[in-house]
Subunit: 319 residues, 2 copies
């Protein structure tokens, strides 16, 4: 089982490499929610999302001979950028398996970090199979997007930093895709502040973790169709779910319309560029999916990789 | 003449009241410009722009009897919000004279800070005349948007903070509207780092300060039509121009299209929400209006008060 010491070890590995991202507050947000909200802006993390924390923790832990051969990752985008960037910083090469319909901004950014991109069809092909074949053929080390203790530990450093800045949190809210972020954050938060409530947020169409918690076992759903492209997982990870079932108190869901409202709110009021997946925590608060009245709440805004053109198009669709 | 000591006094007044805004860097921006660029993000200042610095410095310096009667300001937006917010924090009331065509986001935000809004027609009426009448009728103290030593001193604290974080700057770039920001910043920067080059940026259609510097005296132009609504001044201030002619090395201009490109770049790459007026410095660098190859450059991104809907509409117009 992942423990606080693992997250603290990841923090030491990331020291001076990952950004210590800023925490924002907003009087308007506090008024709208009746709470004191602390927004941890991982949009300002290297690579534009929290994913760099886990990827760098993992890649930097590889033995030299594995590093020399290179790393492989499959990802809808942010994990790809993170692995590509970590590989470059550590002097190795990344091969990235990306779905054909990944946002252009994410594909370009990943290529910009020097990675080789291999594409697949998200709806008909299995990225796991293609990834396993590539890894075998080229001798590459697979860097999983969430189901790895080192990746979870790295993501958990987000909560370490947030609690360092806002130590009296009553509630911690994070997005849930495969579960790496919330598993790491819950592990750190429950150890440092046992009474804290840890809440995950999923898109309505992709509530695999909420269902899995209700069933007491991992439930697989159809690949969800949602604007939150970073949260399109069909089931929680095996390792992440073991942590989540013990340490996460609740998972709530938000609609795509609620996500768009939150993105516009974060833009207008906090001047933050947040991608759909990153806005689900604020969406849950603004839409009243979560009663936090009178509480001190930490919300992880997990990434900002939405291009200006896509942002404009998404908001146009809302009018 | 405004001096460093005035800016330092303003900094003491603002301590614990104004935000010390973050400074961002970007590898992509450095590659595009060949420079090391430090972006001072006043979008995260209270009220969403640097204007709070000057407004609070001025309003907090008023004698108690003037504070009791209230303050008045005329502004296209950010100064209005700043004065409204400063007035509320200091327990007095603000009356704000705004043009009818001011962006809705700015009007709403100003009203949200508890100010009374009085509108006028920017193209046919004189805000100075209406302002003078309101001040006389109601006994209100006018808080000028730039032509006041205390306002200039407050704005100059932006450069103090930036030089504190990036002390080896070779060039400092700021937007130029009425000239309060650049006058204050140039005063601080030239005193602390005599060899620094201070460059102002104006919209092409509103190059009153560039023309005034060339002529050696203040030149009045038509009210410029540009998307940079915060820089629609027709001539430099009397006091600001005295500072600018001595301490500003150069003023360059950018087109509206270059401003839009910079806004999209700041959104995509730095994850920053920047209004048109705030993006002119980065626009000048990206468009090659300014050769900064090999230099350490500080750029003031002066504000982020562009609503998400207006941002989307502006970018749509670009396609």
């Amino acid at each position: 089982m992942l423990e606080l010491a693992d997250v603290q070890a990841a923090a030491r590995r990331l020291e001076g490499v990952a950004h210590r991202t800023p925490v924002f507050t907003s009087r308007t947000l506090d008024e709208r929610t009746g709470a004191r909200v602390h927004v941890k802006a991982e949009s300002f993390q290297r690579g534009g999302a929290f994913k760099f924390r886990g990827a760098y923790t993992k890649v930097s832990s590889l033995p030299p001979e594995a590093l020399a051969r290179g790393v492989l990752a499959y990802s809808s985008g942010n994990h790809a950028q993170a692995v590509a960037l970590a590989a470059r910083l550590l002097g190795t090469r990344a091969t990235i398996l990306m779905p054909l319909d990944a946002p252009a901004a994410k594909v370009e950014a990943t290529r910009g970090y020097g990675a080789e991109i291999v594409t697949y069809d998200r709806w008909t092909e299995s990225r796991e199979e293609i990834g396993a074949r590539l890894a075998a053929e080229r001798g590459l080390e697979l860097v999983k997007p969430y189901d790895d203790p080192l990746v979870m530990a790295g993501q958990g450093t987000t909560a370490l930093e947030l609690l360092d800045e806002a130590p009296a949190l009553d509630v911690l809210v994070t997005p849930v895709g495969g579960g790496g972020l919330i598993a790491g954050c819950a592990t750190a938060a429950k150890a440092l502040r046992p009474g804290i409530r840890v809440v995950g947020v999923e898109p309505e169409a992709g509530d695999d973790t909420r269902r899995s918690l209700a069933a007491g076992e991992r439930i697989r759903i159809e690949v969800p169709r949602t604007i939150a492209d970073g949260l399109q997982t069909a089931e929680p990870g095996e390792l992440t779910f073991e942590v989540i079932r013990r340490r996460v108190d609740e998972v709530v869901t938000v609609s795509d319309a609620e996500i768009l409202d939150a993105m516009a709110f974060l833009f207008d009021r906090l001047k933050l560029v947040v991608e759909p997946s990153g806005a689900v925590g604020i969406a849950a608060l603004l839409a009243g999916q979560l009663d936090v009245r009178g509480r001190s709440v930490g919300v992880v805004v997990s990434g900002g990789n939405v291009g200006a053109a896509r942002f404009a198009a998404l908001l146009d669709g809302r009018r």
